[in-house]
Amino acid sequence: MSAALPVPVIQLFQVLTIALGSPGISGVIAKVEARLQGRRGPHVLQPYYDLAKLFRKEALAPEGASWVFLAAPLAAFTCYLTVPLLIPVLTTYGLPLGYMGDILGGGFILSLASFLVAVAASDTSSPYAQLGASRAKTFSAITEPVVLFVVFTVGLITGTDLPYALAATVRSSASQIIRPAHALAAAALFMVILSETGRIPVETHTGTNEFGMIEEARPFEHSGPYFAWLRWGSAAKQLILYTILINVFLAPWGLAASTQAGAVLLAIVALLAKASALGVVVAVIDNSFAKLRLFKITEFVSAAFLLAVLGVFTLYLGGG
């Protein structure tokens, strides 16, 4: 099992890991959450079955929807699958297409995907979908500064904003993990992830709470395979964001340092395990807190902003 894999294959594996692993992570989170509530919960692989079922179903479109409505789900999914090419998913060394974009570029592509979904939702002229789309855009507008500050913090620590380089610096010594700027930036990013993936305290992931929906409302009008692409895409986004948090900030170990097949396989398993652990944390948070009322989400974001800003400050003053 020590065959050396060609590098493009490894890059393909990165995309496949994200694509195929993401519904599993959603399943793990749902299962853990149910267990914490005292229920048995759905099977861990349930999201896969759901996707399979949805691909077999008939698709409907509202009157007056244009080609944007039909094209957006697949386009968004494609964007989501482009990002794993740029970030350290499985390996510690840069892969050929990895230099296509830096972390800001990755963020841009994620925003593009979100934009496409929002446009498709607006195209439907359905009230709930438009509600969700406009809310999602508003809140992502105020979370953008937080993400930028987080990126600045890590960028300032390492002097670069290529994700691979960031990960390498963090891996270099344990004291990098406990420096306050790093901890603050990681905490801020975690809060942004909660907001972007539609989890408590920003939104309830399960159930249809129409007046509180933000992310969940956008795919309201899609059905059949289109709905499947959208669901899959949001699961992929979730895993991508988890991967960025884990592999750049929190625990960048277990990545393959060589092209050996065994190392790459280990890296895949390690990534899924770490993402599941993070998912467990998210599930616990889901069950511990109540959803914030919409106008209080600004407080939440301001708290994240505070952490990010403090990260930059402690970095500049005293080498924190």
Binding site: I178, F305, L306, G320
Partner: protein, 236 residues
């Protein structure tokens, strides 16, 4: 640009890193007080903040070999984590409004700005404190300089808290957390202050808390509420 040349790519040592983390947690506790609406949680944040100061005192004592600080940490825990919150909680119980749930869970009166705006204002204020303190050129300090910047930020944010809140207990706790900020500054810059003087300072704080309690009880006795909204009689 000047700042770009001083990029701190080197990670700080364990002592500096952990001291900085504790200092930042103290600042976060201060910001947390801006958000807390329930007075009970306000007191808990104060307890957490005081406990963190004690922890930092122990860390500095171990790293810089100043045995007096162990005693100071113990006294801090005894006074600020146990006695003062006890007194405050007793005060809340006694000034419980008739129709509130048992346990004195009073809601703090809030001022004009919302929480998010207050946090942003406090960030600006804290930023000023940070950058001002960094220009002081302090050397030979026991704890890292970041902690001094953080302490100035804590003091300034405590001022924002005192100005913003409209009830007496929140204002009082804001003042005590201001004193916490100054204790943090003392740990950085004056860690070897003779123990007898530190004890005098702590005792003095206790005295102040008792008097604050008396005045709050008196205020409550007259106005039947803890709000300061009607303290507008004296002007000009």
């Amino acid at each position: 640009m000047h700042l770009a040349q001083s990029l701190p790519t080197q990670a700080p040592g364990v002592f500096t890193g952990s001291a900085n983390v504790i200092a930042v947690l103290i600042l976060l506790a201060e910001f947390g007080m801006l958000r807390q609406a329930l007075l009970r949680d306000h007191i808990r944040l104060y307890m957490a903040q005081s406990a963190l100061i004690a922890v930092l005192a122990v860390v500095v004592a171990a790293a810089r070999h100043i045995p007096d600080l162990y005693v100071l940490a113990a006294l801090t825990v005894a006074l600020k984590v146990i006695v003062i919150p006890l007194l405050l909680r007793r005060l809340l119980r006694e000034t419980d409004p008739v129709d509130a749930p048992a346990g004195g869970a009073d809601i703090a009166g809030s001022g004009g700005l919302g929480v998010a705006s207050t946090v942003l204002l406090a960030i600006v204020v804290a930023a000023f404190g940070f950058f001002a303190a960094s220009r002081l050129g302090i050397r030979n300090n026991a704890a890292p300089i970041t902690a001094l910047s953080v302490s100035i930020a804590v003091v300034l944010v405590a001022f924002v808290l005192m100005i913003h809140r409209r009830d007496v207990v929140s204002q009082a706790i804001g003042l005590f957390s201001l004193e916490n900020g100054i204790s943090l500054a003392a740990l950085v810059v004056a860690a070897s202050l003779p123990l007898i003087l530190e004890v005098a300072l702590l005792f003095d704080l206790l005295l102040a808390v008792v008097v604050f309690g008396l005045l709050i009880r008196m205020h409550h006795g007259r106005a039947r509420s803890l709000s300061t909204a009607d303290l507008t009689r004296l002007r000009g």
